[in-house]
Amino acid sequence: MKLRTTKRHLREGTKNIFRNGWMTIASIGAVTTTLLLVGAFLALMLNLNHMANGLEEDVQIEALIDLTAEEEQIKGLGTTIKQMEGTESVAFTSKDEQLNQLIEDMGQEGSTWQMFEQDNPLSHAYIVKAAEPNKTERLADKISQLDGVQEVNYGQDVIRQLFQFNEYARNIGLVLIAALVFTAIFLISNTIKLTIMARSREIGIMKLVGATNGFIRWPFFIEGMMHGVLGSIIPITAVLTGYYYLDNNLKDQINYAFVELLPFNPFAWQLSLLILLIGTFIGIWGSVMSVRKFLKV
């Protein structure tokens, strides 16, 4: 396409944005709402995924030892586990250490556990870390079959629950977003329909004197695209500022090791780019839908 023609299409497309006034604002508003939700949802999803993966990395096996086991047997067990295939490290933790840790972790409520100091109900345990996180389950299975091992825990429930929560959140989010995307597309295509009807005479003459359909279509295409791009300004600003504050403040306030957000740079920028692309896509789709129907030869 010639530069002069490109300029003309850009000018015409931009003019329509103002010509359609409130309808333009409605379309842009719909895109903005959609993208705000898409942005918040994506930030949440991607971070939850990130956390779940991190958690999986951190996973360790806690092998509880039979209360009846002798000291000899316990030592032997340690050596056996160390020599097993796929074991990275083994650490012994006595039941007294565990009780102290428990009392400390529980804070105020921990004091109730102090009465157990005389008669500790906990077991001695080995903390085993697998060389490869995804082989944790197999290693845990093998350890559980050893003599003197009473029970094996490796946080399987927490991970499973996190992944499940992720899945629910994703499904609900996707339905919500799909509905919003369609609303936005519908509004945009309606706005552009108005433009086309307002200019039907002009379009008729253009066709009569031999303008190609591509030539007629471009300004509407640009108008739709502008709706999408303008609609993504507020969501991108919100994502960038919101994530910046979250990233800075959450770090200090929550002390759980696994609550670790994706770093602002590059995550927030990538998310912004994605929002812009989705906005543009919505705009283009909306315009293509209405133009195709109205410009049939």
């Binding site: 009569l208 004197v209 031999g210």
Partner: protein, 241 residues
């Protein structure tokens, strides 16, 4: 003008229709088997009662409608196999003029004509020159800056003629071009058509104007009930006005 240089009347076939039928989607049959040949440089009146199929005949030529059956060849282009995306290029060779002018009300005379060249991506320098040339031809050079509402009906029709011919089409089609004009103005419009025709452009004009057809003698095609019932060179209007 470039068309004028190499033109020899009656030599080159411009429009050829064979066995053309047209039935609209609503079941109305407009054309019932049309056969016609029109050569380059001919001036043809299409006459006949309202609803006889004149408009359909005209609309077939610039591919506004597609025939149900039969073949149409316009300047070596077979319309039955013409792809939809090629239609614009056919129309650059066919200028069309209507009874209601179809001008853009907010644009000046100059802009209305230039618009036709802008949308086919003509260069600005060429646009300026061609628009001024054609305004001279239709005698509206001094009204280039006026908007259509400030002009008389005849002047508006001259603007629409200027727009139709500014691209030097080989064929000019006019559907009742004098239908909204008083007799004096109509003669003025006809003089312009004759001048365009003298330059070698083929002209097809559907009309109800008995006086014009009988005074400015040209080929007359009469259409009735979707058929050509009469085709005479230097013919008469043949109906009561």
């Amino acid at each position: 003008m470039k068309n004028a240089t190499l033109w020899i009347k009656g030599d080159i076939q411009m429009i050829n229709m064979k066995d053309v039928y047209k039935t609209y989607a609503n079941g109305v049959t407009a054309l019932n088997g049309i056969d016609i040949d029109i050569d380059q440089g001919e001036f043809v009146y299409v006459v006949g009662p309202s609803g006889a199929g004149k408009s359909t005949f005209i609309r077939l030529i610039y591919r506004e409608v597609k025939p149900t059956n039969g073949t149409i060849v316009i300047d070596d282009t077979d319309l039955s196999t013409l792809k939809v995306r090629k239609i614009p290029f056919l129309r650059r060779n066919v200028g069309v003029i209507f009874q209601d002018f179809k001008l853009l009300p907010k644009l000046s005379v100059y802009e209305n004509i230039a618009f036709a060249l802008e949308v086919i991506e003509e260069s600005p320098r060429n646009i300026r020159k061609r628009v001024m040339d054609v305004l001279e031809l239709v005698g509206l050079k001094n009204k280039a800056r006026f908007i259509p509402d400030e002009l008389s009906g005849g002047e508006q029709q001259r603007v629409s003629i200027a727009r139709a011919i500014v691209n030097h089409p080989k064929i000019v089609i006019a559907d009742e071009p004098t239908g909204n004009l008083d007799p004096d103005t109509s003669w003025g419009i006809m003089r312009i058509f004759e001048e365009i025709n003298d330059r070698g452009t083929t002209i097809i004009m559907a009309t109800h104007n008995k006086e014009i057809v009988n005074k400015i003698k040209k080929r007359v095609i009469a259409v009735e009930d979707g058929l050509i019932v009469r085709d005479e060179h230097r013919g008469e209007y043949g109906y009561e006005a």
